[in-house]
Symmetry: C3
Subunit: 279 residues, 3 copies
Amino acid sequence: MNQQQEDSNTGLEKLEGLASLVRIIRARKPLVHHITNMVVMNDTANVTLAIGALPVMAHAREEVEEMVSLASALVLNIGTLVPEQIEAMLLAGRQANERQIPIVLDPVGAGATRLRTESALRLLRELHITALRGNASEIGALLGVEGETRGVESISLSEERESVAQRAARQFGCCVTITGARDVISDGRRLAYVENGHPLLASITGSGCMATTLVAAFLAVEPDAWKASIAALVTLGLAGELAAQKAAGPGTFRSHLIDAIAALDEETIRRGQKVSVIA
Amino acid sequence: MNQQQEDSNTGLEKLEGLASLVRIIRARKPLVHHITNMVVMNDTANVTLAIGALPVMAHAREEVEEMVSLASALVLNIGTLVPEQIEAMLLAGRQANERQIPIVLDPVGAGATRLRTESALRLLRELHITALRGNASEIGALLGVEGETRGVESISLSEERESVAQRAARQFGCCVTITGARDVISDGRRLAYVENGHPLLASITGSGCMATTLVAAFLAVEPDAWKASIAALVTLGLAGELAAQKAAGPGTFRSHLIDAIAALDEETIRRGQKVSVIA
Amino acid sequence: MNQQQEDSNTGLEKLEGLASLVRIIRARKPLVHHITNMVVMNDTANVTLAIGALPVMAHAREEVEEMVSLASALVLNIGTLVPEQIEAMLLAGRQANERQIPIVLDPVGAGATRLRTESALRLLRELHITALRGNASEIGALLGVEGETRGVESISLSEERESVAQRAARQFGCCVTITGARDVISDGRRLAYVENGHPLLASITGSGCMATTLVAAFLAVEPDAWKASIAALVTLGLAGELAAQKAAGPGTFRSHLIDAIAALDEETIRRGQKVSVIA
């Protein structure tokens, strides 16, 4: 299951053109509207720029509908949630749905508090979410799977992550990515693994949120949410691998990670991607 | 129009002493009160420290009047605006006006949403703003000039930037800086270009906000807003040039940029400044 | 008073095991709940991860009681205070007190505005705070000692810092740390100095907040707040010394500081700590 595209016989032909998506983002410079948490705003804005898209952070209820109308993708991230923000997310999300602008939801800390679990479920119920990205216990919590979250960190889960991803994809009608040492991406029908990455990604805050932002950037140019999610995770993981070669710890890693995302090209992605497609 | 101070015959004698302003900031350590957006708070605080001033971020309506009274300059930046913040800006701004503390306004995203355009115009109407700093489409939007903003990024403008800057300066009664590959600074009477800078400045989030913060730091020691704005843009542009020599991409550039601002001295500024004065 | 542990005869035996606390944090990975300011959220989350603990930032009144119940320490930092946040801090704090979860208070800018001074005093009155960390004028302001704060920076104080720390510790019934070139730590009975550190720590925003976060991480595994506070200040100061060797200014220093915290081990701490215990 861990084969490079070149020699894989497990459906990678379906992923043709994955590497070229970065070029398309850079050519189109799509606007990605974020309603996101205060911890990672700066980092995710810089990741958006590094991949070649344009970020805008706007969360006032008075302007989110207007702002999202200008965007090619919307990020909803509940990492430092307050109730007013949920309202803003619903307003922006409904407008995005009406205009068929893809939405990525990051249910940060779902399972840790009722506010987070219920808010994420409400967004999934009232909006058409295109892609969902979380760690195992966050996605598990949305399905009621028992697991252990410590704050916003996933500790363990009582069900296989593949099964959780597939069930969540079917239940919520969207593409689901569970990130971890091996990322699992399912749209309910297709399942893929991405094994790019480096332990240093887990040593900095917001690498999950960066993954979510990248999913949005790829969704802005690729309508197949499964492909867009795979491309995003390959991008982050591969950039993490390259950054780790230059880093002396999490502080310098964070700077090199942004450099590496900005420097990624089709050839590097084509050669470095570790994707396996199941079924 | 692109001449260094040494051989310019276009009014640069008016800018004598520009390079010494950095030394004065470092000697006086003026407090710069920011009511600003959540994306760039950390970066602009670090830029304020790097130039030698002291930052304070405070936006509660209950304290902004008291806080600004301690400050030597006030930054109003509408990058992640909510209505409560406008009220705080008006309270702080009125107090600043009463005490003749200079105010810099950064109309982030004006033109993208009504909330932003109208809020920026309200601040310009109800307060005496000393300096305004934005990109071409933001400043254009405040004058009703047709242009294209994508989120908070300026795409194009239907009128010459020099003319927009001059008209805005006259209409709003303040010094106007339009930043871009070539910065245009006009107080309605005088016009200057700053050609320091590097493309990497556009690759990180918040470089415009950093420019605004630097305008405030220079205004805290230089009452001529036109000179202060020029000095700020030279500082950021020159630091960008120096940082780019060490950077391997936008992530490392951001760290080196702060280093370069902190390391700038009079001699480097005097030699490196690319300022042209028109009329 | 400035002796290394090896040859000190001033009570350092009381600090036995200080260096091993880092190992304990890394083994237990305690969750540290922050209700903190928007300027430093990202930095303090990264510092928490670097020392080996897990950060969670949550400030909605609807979830803070639930979140803090999962945590091993709580940080209350008033750096960008709004009244709603005080309510959230009181809710979380009462829950923490009930569950005997230690609380660290950072009274950022106390003395600068009434909102800050009074809010900090209210938290100290209504909650049982375990440790208080501020600069000299902030702690002084809470006691009514005359001093000069410029925004959030301490300028001068009319009373000796040792005396202020001891009086504050007795009055507020908690361990008090006054940070500066030489840190003073008193629990009202015992007094220690930490002389680790580097001037570059004062050149970046949020190094005080990082100290506070580290106090919380150590408190999560060490019930003696005086020992925990000393360990935290040694950690930050020593990491600052090591980072300074690699840094070319405040921007690169900030990255190397996170690297250095993540790389600290018992041996380095044991050799590098500059602690003196008085009485």
